[in-house]
Symmetry: C2
Subunit: 452 residues, 2 copies
Amino acid sequence: MSEAAIELARRSRGLAEADFTEELRIPSVGTLSRHREDCRQNAQWLLERFQRMGMDASLHEYGSGHPTVQAEWLAAPGRPLLTIYGHYDVQPPDPLQEWISGPFEPAIRDGSIYARGACDNKGQHLSSLKAAEYAFATGGPALNLRFLVEGEEEGGGEVLPHLLKTEAERLRSDFVFIHDGTLLQLLTGLRGNLYTEIEVTGAAIDLHSGAFGGLAPNPFNTLALILAGLKDRTGRVLIPGFYDAVKDPSPEELASWSTLPITEEMLLQLTGAPALEGEPGYSLLERNFTRPTLDVHGVMGGFTDEGSKTVIPARAAAKVSMRLVPDQDPFVILEALRRQAETLATPGTRVVVKQVGEVAWPILLDSQHVGIGAASRAFEAAFGQAPFLVRAGYSIPVVSDFAANLPDSKIFVSGFSGEDDGAHSPNERMVLDNFHRGTEMVLHLFDELAEA
Amino acid sequence: MSEAAIELARRSRGLAEADFTEELRIPSVGTLSRHREDCRQNAQWLLERFQRMGMDASLHEYGSGHPTVQAEWLAAPGRPLLTIYGHYDVQPPDPLQEWISGPFEPAIRDGSIYARGACDNKGQHLSSLKAAEYAFATGGPALNLRFLVEGEEEGGGEVLPHLLKTEAERLRSDFVFIHDGTLLQLLTGLRGNLYTEIEVTGAAIDLHSGAFGGLAPNPFNTLALILAGLKDRTGRVLIPGFYDAVKDPSPEELASWSTLPITEEMLLQLTGAPALEGEPGYSLLERNFTRPTLDVHGVMGGFTDEGSKTVIPARAAAKVSMRLVPDQDPFVILEALRRQAETLATPGTRVVVKQVGEVAWPILLDSQHVGIGAASRAFEAAFGQAPFLVRAGYSIPVVSDFAANLPDSKIFVSGFSGEDDGAHSPNERMVLDNFHRGTEMVLHLFDELAEA
């Protein structure tokens, strides 16, 4: 069956790239309220494409969130039901000055398309959407199909979690393909994420550092003391109790990871950093897969314009997130962080730790189910190579939502984005060949799962 | 002679306030290039006022700096020459949202005028300008007079220093009144200032904290370690050698300061901070007058918009300044800071420490000269109270420039700005009664110095 669809896919690459460009032009930055209408426009754009291929498509709303696009085709009785997950929201594009071409003006260079969202996640869900389109144009897929493409992945939203929770029975699926992963990787676990803002206040008003330097507390200096007291210079987190619930990976996992072709040299070249940094005593992959981390993302307050201003500001705040691993509880960690920040605050300051967005729980997946084998064969057929079973250092909160609400579904997490495609960075891209082969992989996957 | 001028001053308070409002409307933010034309407009505004009263006024330019306004009247042969210094540039007004009325829309509330620059320094130089205007309108001042009003005080410029250096002989003065001080204070010393930017770079590109957390260096975490390693939680600076050249104040100074009506309670009320902070083992005034300090003013880089972005940025930088005291050498301290920052940087990062603007050297002034007595009597006549002899925690770089280039001049530093007038803060103000009495003080000063 897939042969005709694959042939159509190969003939339609130009049209697929035109569609890709069109979706990339929509600046659907989910976490910035000024892009609210752009997000809705992206949802509408997907809705129309699903409807055009004959799927039963609708937008699902909840509260003030961005809509989730649902598309269904349940006309293959007796065949399994595959649900494919993706997201149309993208990260903010800053720093803008580092983009070679505009983040929302897709440009093709050296076989890659560059734009915010290219690999995270438009190029991913669109390769699946295209696979469905070609399957419908050549007799229909060999299994039942559902898409759920949400608009709140980057910010931690509530629309899709609410839908999964309240309509779990209706949404039961045999397989769930979380299409937000890395090329030739099938994930057996993901780190969680806890995103916070640590705010330090001192005086009630901004003060002059000449008139008050040596007298008034400076929230920035105190914030630096707090941040320096959260992680030491070797990369070990200093929050008391932080590592208490951390579980070591199984010897089988460790053994299989040792075959992965990832070296310090590769990472140095990829990042351009003078040296890597991370918790001592653990391998590179352990540091990313099974060890929790803490990173500062930005610091607000005071004076950051050109030149000099000698202000002791009334407030300073930092965005700080922690990647968590099984069995750390994000809310236990949040309380431990609060206590540590309060311990480190100076007498002239007050500190408040706020959670930002929803937490992502760390998760371990079943790595033995039939979907894993099917996906491996589909990868081999499309890319000529079997995928690796790995964990992910990043978080896909929705994986936990699917696992919790659709406990009978066989979940697998993978995708077609390369590790050097710059997700969340300037000049994010998708290699077009991976995008096109990805569509073929999904067509093979339809066939494989139909028989699974 | 001053009686007629003082009477005119009292009759003209409404007109003086109208002029004050007019100058405050000019957004002459010297350190922001987008306000370049506003600075020139302010210089022109002053030039015209000096010319209108019959002074020989001109603009002095050098390089790309904002012009210095010079106004002279040397028609009192045999009488001393008084040079009055002020500056028309103002601090940036941010954070804008904390202003009750717009920073460049002067508003009078409860007897004070609120606007950026109200006390620092427009209300100050304008009270002197008005004194000159009234003196000329009532027979002319009893001494020779020169104004130098520059436009680069807040940023550390080069126009006035260059003028003082290259035309020192022409600018010789018997007295120099640095009109940029605090009400009822005559300064006998000022702290210096060294303003820097500490930039930390890690990877060559922004990275995703999921994919690279535990592997890549985070410049923010390293910057926090560096900042925390510059000043401890008690307020003591940790840069090796930082205190080596610091001189203790004389027993006479310490004794005279002990009579000053400044208490911890007052400062707590003024700042609204939960507690004061500063180097242990020193009195409040020592901590501000004779002990050096270090303050962080802002941190750049990464993600600071609403919501969350899980970025490990390629770079982070902090604005950090140090108030220095005699006999610290700013350039020795800059090198010591560089070494400390490099020592504290982590292996995955590189750190660069850049000087921002010009340094202000710490300075001790002669506190015995006849101008001090004259100014004290003028204060008593106008405000009913003699000023205190103190040092300043803040820096006025130009004091060193005058002292170095006009070594025969008797310098005194004072002004009419209250300590709670919010210089450099939102809702900066000038108490109008101080502004008007200030004009009378300057008229008395003309008479006192003419006989000195």
